[in-house]
Amino acid sequence: MARYDVLVVDDEKDFRDIIVKKLEKRDLKCDSAPDGATALEMVKAKKYDVVLLDVKMPGMDGIEALREIKKIEPMVEVVMLTGHASVESGINGIKYGAFDYLMKPMDMDPLMEKLDAAYERKRIQQDKIEMAQIKKDMALPG
């Protein structure tokens, strides 16, 4: 049983593949998308817990994709992937609601830490919402 669902968005196929393989090996359910537009479709179609999003992509870039994803699914946590030259965009991403950013190349351990932390937060938020809902339901008369 997978611990949570992750969507990997990167334009480089080999990168997507290896990350997917590695994450699945670590008990995560993993899908991948080659660009922002596809990612949006996939976010609409299925509830993901965490999105691993490359900042620099042809077509819709990471920041734009981030904002769109947050519009569609505000609860999903996004971890940005930046290159050396695009650290600024990673920091920028946090302003638009990303959970954190990671600089490529990244080792698996920090990646897993970030993903777990992101999922953790998502889960806590989710729990809070559920609790609030329950309280609201209980408060209802009758």
Partner: protein
């Protein structure tokens, strides 16, 4: 460069000539007009003097002749003919009237021209002579009073006479005028050593000798004066100023000749003085013009050189920025595949433990190989990171810089070269060195320059020592080498742009000049000490600033 030198030389000459001409023209104009005016004034002076002298002489001579005539007419009116016709009486009278010295003799002649009595030195020549045929004698009879022109007469000596008849024209009393006394009346009228004064009659014959012994005949101009002249007149003919005045009932003409050059002494003095001033001023102007133009052209040349250096520096910065961009691009492009290699190797590493060790006889080899792949990818990654760091710093502004790191990073670029030439690099980095807000890349550029120079200076088998330390205000970086040192004549020019001791094409000669500029913009300083044979020490000081913006 030689072309440029020619251009500067040309410019210098042009400017010097310009300055000189501008300076000297007004002086020439003033001097010329001053000389001209002073000459005019001098000439006017001479004319006035000449006019006065001529006028005065005219009066003196007129009075002299009048006096002689008066004496004779007094005798005539005082004494009857009988009394005069007595030799003793005449002697007596002559003694009385010739005291003034103007008269040579006294002679009584009857109207027929027969001499009656004579007192004087020429008795033998004149005794018994008849004067009826003489021109002057008939003039006297017609006019009553006559002053004759000079003639030789019976005595064969040039002389002139004053003769009177009594009112009844019964006899003629005549006297010969003492020529030397008469002539001496004119002597005082001579003006200047070459001046002349004499009297001519209407025929142009000299009545008194010219004071200039060489003068025998009248000049054309003098003849013209006799023909056209009516009243005292002053004319200038060449260098000669003629002043003429009529005498003796307009029968004689007094001519006063002045050689103007004689009289222009003061003017000539003024001229000489002015010329001297012109020469002195001109040479002064020349010196100033040459000096000034050299000074200006030197400044222009310096400005040219500096602007060329600045251009070069800008080009250099541009080049560095381009290199940085290129490096960043390359590093970025290489980084991605490197990461892919790393990730793929990592994947194998993850999967390997799941294999059955029994079926995999080279398991250890695989693990070892994966480790090596990872190690070398990391090495490559370090290089690309360094390149990216270099590129980022090119555009970076002030940041917190640990100078020790900058030194180490700089050395990493040059280690290969040092090792290749067997140069030992001795590092003394102060571990407690504080960080400072500065432009790391620019500092690195300076260090790169200095260390590169040091390596060049050492050549082979030497030693380069790099020391960092700090004072309360500055971080001090010393780059010392044990190379041959810098000779004093090179030392003087070492900071000049384009100065290089390296071979043609190897150095731009801008390294130190740019370094100095950079360190100035960073607020620091760069100094150099060198001893021939012992080596050179470059000392760079960077101020320690802790920015408040530092987070």
């Amino acid at each position: 460069m030689a072309d440029k030198q020619k251009h500067y030389t040309h410019l210098t000459k042009l400017m010097a000539a310009g300055f000189f001409i501008c300076g000297i023209i007004p002086i020439l104009i003033i001097a010329t007009s001053s000389i001209y005016n002073s000459k005019q004034v001098a000439l006017k002076d001479i004319e006035i003097t000449a006019g006065q002298v001529a006028q005065h002489r005219q009066d003196v001579i007129h009075k002299f002749l009048e006096h002689q005539i008066d004496l004779l007419s007094t005798l005539i009116s005082l004494y009857p003919l009988d009394y005069l016709n007595n030799q003793d009486n005449l002697n007596h009278l002559f003694l009385a009237i010739s005291k003034s010295g103007g008269m040579v003799d006294l002679q009584l002649i009857d109207t027929n021209g027969q001499q009656l009595a004579y007192v004087g030195p020429y008795r033998d020549q004149v005794t018994g002579k008849n004067y009826k045929e003489q021109a002057w004698f008939s003039e006297v009879l017609v006019r009553g009073t006559h002053v004759s022109d000079v003639f030789s007469g019976y005595r064969k000596i040039p002389h002139f006479v004053v003769a009177l008849t009594d009112p009844l024209k019964r006899y003629v009393l005549r006297t010969t005028i003492n020529s030397s006394v008469f002539n001496s009346l004119l002597h005082s009228a001579q003006i200047g050593p070459h001046g002349d004064v004499f009297i001519v009659n209407k025929e142009g014959e000299l009545q008194t000798p010219s004071l200039q012994s060489n003068m025998t005949a009248l000049g054309e101009h003098e003849k013209q004066l006799i023909r056209h002249h009516s009243s005292p007149e002053i004319t200038l003919e060449g260098d000669t100023l003629y002043t003429a005045a009529w005498l003796n009932n307009d029968t004689w003409l007094l001519i006063l000749k002045i050689q103007t050059p004689d009289m222009l002494g003061a003017y000539r003095q003024h001229l000489n003085r002015t010329l001297m001033i012109i020469v002195i001023t001109a040479s002064l102007f020349f010196v100033i013009a040459v000096f000034l133009s050299r000074f200006i052209v030197a400044h222009v040349a310096k400005a040219d050189r500096e602007s060329a250096a600045l251009d070069q520096q800008m080009a250099h910065i541009e080049k560095m920025a381009n290199i940085g961009r290129l490096a960043a691009g390359v590093a970025h492009e290489i980084n991605n595949p490197l990461q892919m290699i790393l990730a793929q190797a990592g994947w194998i590493e993850e999967l390997l433990p799941e294999e059955d060790p029994a079926t995999l006889k080279n398991l250890d080899e695989y693990n070892e190989t994966i480790k090596k792949i990872k190690h070398h990818v990391e090495r490559a990654a370090t290089i690309t990171h360094r390149l990216l760091g270099f590129a980022r710093k090119i555009s970076a502004e002030q940041e917190s810089v640990q100078v020790n790191e900058v030194v180490e990073e700089t050395l990493s670029f040059l280690e290969k070269e040092a090792k290749h030439n067997n140069i030992e690099i001795d590092l003394h980095l102060n571990p407690q060195l504080p960080t400072t807000m500065t432009e790391g890349h620019r500092l690195q550029q300076i260090l790169l320059n200095l260390i590169d120079n040091a390596l060049d200076a050492v050549g082979h088998d030497g030693k380069v020592t790099i020391t960092t330390s700090n004072t309360p205000t500055d971080i001090v970086i010393e780059v010392a080498d044990n190379g041959p040192g810098i000779p004093p004549e090179v030392m003087k020019k070492i900071w000049d742009p384009f100065f290089t001791t390296k071979e043609q094409g190897k150095g731009t000669g801008l390294g130190l000049s740019i370094s100095q500029n950079i360190i100035r913009t960073l607020g620091g300083s760069i100094e150099l000490q060198s001893k021939e044979g012992e080596g050179t020490v470059f000392t760079v000081k960077v101020p320690i600033t802790q920015s408040t913006q530092n987070q």
